[in-house]
């Protein structure tokens, strides 16, 4: 496509091709000529094209060679607009002055497609020297703005979702808050950024393309109730709202730019160019400082939350308010904790009797007690239905309770919501470590390690679920005067050791773990590497509120120093006995899958002492072929 064609993108008609090609060239000539006369008074177009806000409007990457993250050619009015900010500026000015063609709607005109560029150019350039610009009535844009009618913006953080590896770090999206007369927050518009994944995508392709590229991504605008329901009620994820304080003028500019990016495509990369990154970059349009570094090698939502809390806007904190939005499951546990023993007992009997409410115990309750019982049981069934989607009998049970609740007086039983700690308060996601390792065979080593993300079972990350491990790209090396060896490299080490059943269920909690990576076959050889994949499932029980015991069985395949497939059993205990101290002991027995050979029993113990939010000391012991004793200092950091 030639330059004229690109300027007329969306306007170009073959029957008018000659005219279409002449007009933009004339305008470009005028732009450059007029500008030459006014160069002494105003910045040149070349200077303006390097302005950071113009580059942000084009979603350019940082660095000397700019390139836009947006891949849609429609977003650019110049052929070279995705890497040439000056050419795009000239083409944009030119397009703003183009007349409306009879066959086309004003909505297709550059003024209506790029209202933020128009605001910015009018603010930064004296357009009087270019002639009078005819302002258009942009109906589609105006209708959208009227529907949005936002006066402020919030960033919503949806907590991690351990059922889906891609969701474990959480998710970010925007909520555009209108003011009166709208009352309901659920009806506000939200802006989501995500990969466009084909329906029923192959799981392997899904992971490979998600990480290494291959998916388009983009912003979509939907009512907040869809996300509130999906995250809070369906996926049972707590949310936090970071309400930002932005001036009316900047809010207008931000909304105008959101309109510009809707429908345009980006390349999607799960690790760095994800929702957290592009939501942050969108907000940086009106922020003087960076919320997340352009050079971040990986971006996780909690880092963006920290960045938001640390960002100043017009000499005041950007975040004016933080609100907790409990999930359905959190609401259930809160409701259960507020029930009296009599109410709990009545509810337990209803559960035990297959949700038959015709019992003397229930009938003897006062109306207010019945409301508390039915409402908490409805919460229970709502969660259970999400956890057991194939169990249709649950819906009949819910119907019974709904009709019972309809017969009782209106008015919800109030439950004071406990606010979980917000994600920005947790420790930073990445780790460097330095330590010392002693073997009972007399060998001593310096150890050093790096972990990309995020926490382990013993971490005091206030925002993680208890007894969970989420580590990716975790490498540890040992060295002495004679050798330097990779001790282990976990690509993935994920576990969830305490998945409790719901109130009134008497079954033990569940546990699972998955590991994939490289490690030593046994602990008295540091040159016996194996590549492995391992999975375990089991049960766990909580004693008090801080002690977890678990028992798991698992399987492991590995190749390298030795090729084998094994089955194993492990028992463990985790104790969170102090707010800054935790410990774990574990014993594991593995055998060849056909039980023809067994491996030596492995014992391990580890103590964690948190020194500060972003530092800790670990003391650990491992006994198998030999006994290793180590001390490690961990320092947490993030982009």
């Amino acid at each position: 496509m030639d330059l004229a064609g690109s300027i007329f993108y969306g306007f170009y008609l073959p029957s008018q091709s000659v005219k279409a090609k002449i007009i933009p060239w004339c305008l470009l000539f005028l732009i450059n000529t007029c500008h030459a006369f006014s160069a002494m008074a105003t910045p040149s177009l070349a200077q303006l094209a390097t302005d950071s806000q113009w580059l942000k409007l084009l979603h350019y990457s940082s660095g000397e060679k700019h390139k836009s993250y947006i891949t849609s050619q429609d977003f650019f009015l110049s052929d070279s607009g995705h890497y040439d900010a000056l050419a795009e500026l000239k083409a944009t000015i030119s397009a703003f002055y183009l007349p409306i063609r009879d066959a086309l709607s004003p909505n297709e005109h550059a003024q209506c497609r790029f209202p933020a560029r128009l605001i910015w150019i009018r603010k930064n350039l004296d357009l009087a020297s270019y002639g009078e610009m005819k302002r258009l009535d942009c109906k589609q844009y105006n209708d959208w703005r009227q529907q949005v009618s936002a006066k402020s913006v919030s960033v919503i953080f949806a907590s991690g979702y351990m059922d889906n590896p891609a969701s474990m770090y959480g998710h970010l999206f925007l909520k555009l808050n209108s003011e009166a007369p709208r009352k309901s927050d659920l009806l506000n518009l939200s802006l989501n950024y995500g990969a466009i994944v084909p329906h029923k995508e192959n799981p392997v392709a899904y992971i490979v393309r998600g990480i290494f590229g291959g998916y388009d991504a983009g912003f979509s605008d939907q009512e907040f109730y869809r996300h509130h329901h999906n995250y809070g009620d369906v996926e049972l994820r707590d949310m936090w709202e970071y309400r930002l304080s932005i001036s009316d003028k900047d809010m207008d500019f931000l909304l105008a730019h959101i309109w510009e990016v809707l429908g345009n495509k980006f390349d999607y990369y799960f690790i760095d160019e994800n929702c957290g990154f592009h939501i942050a970059k969108l907000l940086e349009l009106v922020s003087d400082t960076q919320i997340i570094s352009d050079s971040s090698l990986w971006v996780i939502p909690s880092s963006v939350a920290k960045g938001l809390k640390n960002t100043q806007y017009k000499n005041a904190p950007l975040v004016s308010q933080t609100n907790f939005i409990p999930s359905k499951e959190t609401q259930l546990h809160q409701a259960y904790s507020k029930l009296s023993s009599r109410q709990k007992s009545a509810a337990q009997n209803i559960v035990n009797n297959n949700f038959d409410i015709d019992s003397n115990e229930y009938e003897s309750l006062a109306s207010q007690d019945k409301k508390a019982v039915t409402e908490s049981l409805l919460q229970y069934l709502a969660v259970l239905i999400k956890k057991q989607p194939g169990n249709n009998s649950l819906k009949d049970k819910k119907r019974t309770l709904l009709f019972e609740r309809l017969r009782l007086p209106a008015g919800k039983v109030k439950v004071n919501s406990h606010q979980n700690e917000a994600p920005h308060l947790g420790m930073k996601p990445s780790k460097f470590s330095l330590g010392y390792l002693n073997g009972d065979n007399g060998q001593n080593f310096i150890t050093t390690g790096f972990r990309m993300t995020y926490f382990d079972d013993l971490s005091f990350n206030s925002t993680k679920k208890r007894f969970t491990n989420l580590e990716m790209l975790d490498i540890e090396a040992i060295a002495n005067e004679n050798t330097l060896k990779i001790l282990k490299l976990d690509l993935i080490d994920v576990d969830s050791l305490y998945i409790p059943t719901l109130p009134w269920d008497k079954k033990p909690a569940s546990a699972w773990s998955v590991r994939l990576g490289f490690e030593q076959l046994h602990n008295n050889c540091f040159d016996c590497g194996i590549y492995f994949a391992e999975g375990d499932i089991g049960k766990s029980a909580l004693f008090g509120t801080t002690n977890l015991a678990y028992a798991m069985v698992g399987a492991k395949v590995f190749a390298g120093e030795k090729d084998d497939a094994t089955i194993s059993a492990k028992l463990g205990l985790i104790n969170l006995f102090h707010e800054k101290m935790s410990a774990k002991i574990e014993v594991q027995q593995a055998a060849r899958f056909d039980l023809t050979n067994s491996y030596k029993t492995q014992y391990s113990a580890e103590l964690n002492i948190q020194l500060a939010t972003n530092s800790e000391i670990r003391l650990y012991m491992e006994k198998q072929e030999t006994t290793l004793l180590g001390l490690r200092f961990n320092w947490f950091w993030g982009f």
């Binding site: 959208w144 529907q147 949005v148 949806a158 979702y161 889906n164 891609a166 969701s167 770090y169 998710h171 009352k183 309901s184 659920l186 009806l187 518009l189 989501n192 995500g194 990969a195 466009i196 994944v197 329906h199 995508e201 998916y215 991504a217 983009g218 979509s220 605008d221 939907q222 009512e223 109730y225 869809r226 329901h229 999906n230 009620d233 369906v234 809707l262 429908g263 999607y268 799960f270 994800n274 929702c275 592009h278 996780i300 939502p301 359905k328 409301k371 409402e375 409805l378 919460q379 709502a382 119907r399 709904l402 009709f403 609740r405 309809l406 017969r407 007086p409 209106a410 008015g411 919800k412």
Partner: protein, 161 residues
Amino acid sequence: MNKLISSALMVGAFTSLMAMPAAAESNKNEKLNPWQDCGIGAMIFPENGAAAAISNIIWDLGTTAVSTNVSSQESCASSKAKTAMFIKATMPALEQDVASGEGEYVTAMLELRGCEATSHQAIIKAVRQDMVNKEADNAEALYEVLEERVATSFPASCASA
């Protein structure tokens, strides 16, 4: 409305974004049935409500549900249609609020329906009475009860379309 007309309208919802509101508007004597008239069922919620709405939410460091973009909604822009979409999308949570007689989902539903805030309590009280006697309790049943009540008892308090 016979099958032929509703099918034609569903096709129309896909092929001509402007055609549907005009068609609905032009026939005020006939009840709007957003499930058929707007093609909502086919467009957004094929069979199983909220589960379908999240079917394409996979990569959580970015999700997508492009088909329901507000910026591309030109069909079914009436209060009734929006209310129907809301009920369908949030029914499991909404029905609990309705049963209790209050809650943020009930408030959102009635605001979306264009009902004055001062009338909310009375409307939901009436809806609760009707739902007790209703055999079905699905999203469409709730929508019908609400519309019936708005039409018969609260026409002056809510939007007309």
